[in-house]
């Protein structure tokens, strides 16, 4: 008994020691790259989540799919911002810009803007930033290959963009608020490869920007939070009289929606930009709309048919399929009313003004099982073997597989609804849930029947949507556009024509859009279903005056590429609940 007692005691001590040692390894290991820590003052700190890509180890502004949230917008800024609600550009690091002739665009660079290392922002910095996209592996390389841009030069206080005779307007507009303006004197030390593809890991002092926040701490392979601290010398405070309210902003990168929601429910997150079920909107939680659909619409969810194979190569069949889908049931079951039905044109609500009512009335579609049946019957799709499903015109069986990534529970629910409503119209679908990578791979190579996609976010131009649908020529791997592999040369010409039409030429611009809407609705190469929300829930305990449909009509998400829309205005309008 004595021995056992002693043994037990020794074991307990050993264990206690182990715990301490292990825990301390944990601290020192994880803390190695961090600055000394202190708890941030809660009342002056904004906590936000929405970035689901952990870890936070990329501070390269070119990599706009995985740099740390806020890198562009907080630290690096853009020449312009774009207000999607108003449809206007906001001068930012450029005070103005205009086309001086058919092939020349001139940007006036803002004066007295300081980099956080004390140097002054120069037009040469702006020109340098646009030239970076010349690197072939740079994600913004199409600026130099697809827009007709031939040269960028700084001259005096201006940056002059020279274009070919036939050139883009819409796409160039997009880059006007997408290209991050970076300090040439810091960036020039890196090689082209590094600039385009590396993480540009730097020590915090070396992340030199012009924006309202400075990088404070947090990036690194194991980090879950990135902390930004207010830049008290921000140019906009002096020149525009605005300032961001929170002294600190902490972005939380969560590995799951559920974990993020737990933190939001516990009051640890103020701005929640992950998807959360409807029942999470309760108590002090606010959203953009105070009733359904609660959130703004951020992008369109499309059903892509593989148009290279029968029967999906038949426009009538696609129309019948579109007509058979009970979208309101999807919204009810998968979203509990958090999302809204898409326009038959697929254009986002911010582009409602461009939707041609007559065209939609004449060529649009809406849910009707009898109508779908009638379309099928008229086109010669009949149920010849009596199994309740129609067959191909040649009598062979139709069995189409509809897929979405596994784990995307709202979409998984949606395709099951599509399956059952298509069944009612006599179209045989089966569902499948491959992992995202497999789905993307099959999508790129055209190895699918039907799948869902929502890759295009809101932007300055419906051109981004039409390019998404019609882009030609097809390649072996369609990684970003025209997943349905629809070859319509005439339509693609119209899309390019749209690109070459300035938004300011209102009648021509509208005419071009009307033509495209008609072309789209007649052939229906992809089927617009619903708008995915700009998921945003606000905790009003520490911060108030959030964006809403009645005031502060700004984009309310922390997602990448939204800060240079109007998300930054959200921060300048916030009020501390304590004061």
């Amino acid at each position: 008994m004595l021995t056992r007692k002693r043994g037990g005691g020794a074991a307990a001590i050993a264990v206690a020691l182990l715990v301490v040692i292990v825990a301390s390894i944990g601290l020192s290991g994880a803390g190695a790259s961090q600055r000394s820590a202190f708890a941030l003052p809660r009342g002056q700190t904004l906590y936000m989540s929405g970035n689901q890509w952990s870890p936070n180890n990329d501070v390269n502004p070119a990599k706009n799919w995985d740099y740390v949230t806020g890198l562009v917008g907080f630290n690096y800024e853009t020449a312009f911002r774009y207000d999607p609600m108003k449809g206007t550009f906001i001068p930012w690091l450029a005070t103005s810009g205009k086309w001086t002739d058919k092939t020349t665009y001139v940007m006036n660079v803002r004066k007295n803007v300081k980099w956080t290392d004390g140097k002054t922002l120069t037009p040469a910095d702006v020109a340098y930033s646009f030239k970076l996209a010349k690197i072939a592996t740079h994600p913004q390389h199409p600026l130099w290959t697809d827009t007709g841009l031939q040269g960028v030069n700084a001259k005096g206080n201006q940056v002059i963009f020279k274009f070919a005779k036939s050139h883009s307007y819409q796409q160039f507009d997009y880059y006007r608020y997408m290209v991050a303006i970076v300090p040439q004197h810091v960036f020039q030390r890196w090689s082209k490869t590094e600039l385009a593809t590396a993480n540009l890991n730097l020590t915090s002092g070396k992340i030199v920007g012009t924006g309202p926040y400075m990088y404070q701490s947090g990036y690194g392979a194991s980090s879950e939070t990135v902390t930004w601290k207010k830049n008290t010398n921000w140019w906009a405070t002096k020149q525009l009289g605005i300032k961001v309210a929170p002294t600190y902003v902490v972005d939380i990168s969560n590995s799951s929606n559920a974990a993020a929601l737990g933190n939001f429910a516990a009051g640890n997150i103020d701005l929640f930009n992950n998807f959360a079920p409807k029942s999470a909107i309760r108590g002090q939680t606010k959203t953009y709309y105070s009733k359904a659909p609660w959130h703004l619409s951020a992008n369109t969810v499309w059903l892509f048919p593989n148009t290279t194979q029968k029967p999906l190569n038949d426009a009538v069949f696609r129309r019948a399929l579109a007509t058979s889908i009970d979208i309101s049931q999807i919204l009810d079951k998968a979203y509990q009313g958090l999302a809204i039905k898409a326009s038959p044109t697929g254009l986002l609500p911010i582009w409602n003004k461009y939707v041609d009512g007559q065209t939609v009335k004449k060529y649009g579609f809406s849910y009707s099982t009898p109508k779908a049946k009638q379309l099928l019957a008229a086109a010669g799709y009949k149920d010849t073997n009596g199994d309740g499903y129609v067959e191909n015109k040649d009598g062979s069986a139709i069995n189409l597989k509809i897929v979405c990534p596994n784990g995307w529970s709202d979409w998984m629910t949606a395709i099951q609804v599509i399956q059952s409503s298509a069944k009612a119209a006599g179209i045989h679908l089966t569902v499948g849930y491959p992992d995202y990578g497999t789905m993307a791979d099959d999508r790129g190579h055209g190895r699918f029947d039907l799948l869902l996609g929502n890759d295009r976010q809101m932007s300055n131009s419906p051109w981004t949507y039409y390019q998404y649908i019609y882009q030609l020529p097809l390649s072996g791997n369609q990684t970003t556009a025209n997943y349905e592999r629809f070859t319509d040369n005439a339509a693609w010409k119209e899309v390019q024509q749209l690109d070459k039409t300035p938004t300011s030429d209102k009648s021509q611009y509208q005419a071009q859009l009307t033509v495209l809407q008609k072309t789209f609705l007649q052939k229906l190469p992809a089927i617009p279903l619903w708008y995915n929300g700009m998921w945003a829930m606000f905790n009003t305990k520490y911060w108030t005056n959030w964006p809403s449909s009645s005031q502060n009509k700004y984009t309310d998400v922390s997602w990448r590429n939204y800060w240079q829309m109007t998300s930054i205005d959200m921060l300048t309008h916030l009020k501390s609940a304590g004061s």
């Binding site: 559920a258 929601l261 737990g262 079920p277 029942s279 596994n406 629910t413 099951q416 569902v431």
Partner: protein, 299 residues
Amino acid sequence: MAVTAKQELRVQAGPRPSARRSEFLYFALRNWKFVAGATVVLAMLALALIGPALISTPPLAFTGPTDSPPSSEYWFGTTSFGQDVFAQFVWGLRAAFLVGALGGGIAWVIGAAVGFTAGYRGGLVDDVLNMLTNVVLVIPTIAILIIVAAYLNLHSYAAEAVLIGATSWPWAARAVRAQTFSLKTRDFVDIARLSGRTTRGIITREIAPNMSSYLLMMWILLFGGAILIGASLDFLGLGPATQVSLGQMMNSAYSSSALLLGFWWWFVPPGIGIILIVGGLYVMNVGLDEVFNPKLREL
């Protein structure tokens, strides 16, 4: 957790006289552990077999109201998508029994085959098989399972069960090998060998029957282990996506934030289901052990 599984059989090394059938039944039915465990397992099995027939609602159909707590209409409530949790539960039980029986069965067959062969043949065959066993035994098979399942996009629980069976046999093989070693030097084996029986005949006619109780318990433990491994894989979202299992229910409850929004009826039943089946099996096993080994019976 398979720890106990390995544990219990490890101890029982060393053959014991096989009980006669009537004697076995007599003691089995008087052993409360065996009776209680078997009752729970059989009740679950009955629910798994009959349940899906009684519940007309397909487990994944969005027929009901959303987020509704248990009621007389929806016994276990509904999910955030309006699916019937009870329907999912009974189908999930079915999947659990399938994975357990098939996965455990495959592991049992491989384990027994390798163990008998290695133990009886000895020599080079034993060296090779033993090496193989040790290699698979040491590799954390969950790692291999996750990586393979992630690539393969499993389409059925049978496929999942095969994967599980193919990786969870080594401890069984090791145990059978040790038993065979000690049995093969016995007189009755020698007699059989002298009378010209084939190796296979000796193993199946002489050696295996003498450790039948042992083999039965091994199967029960492998059964329970396979269910737990399958639940983990399904919880990770690596199981067949178009079907329901208890692990998949936990996955969808977790990813839909059920535990934060208070929808306890969504994730509590699948866990209870697993505990009842696996716990029932383990308790049944300990009861069996006492039946076969009179020394262990309660004083």
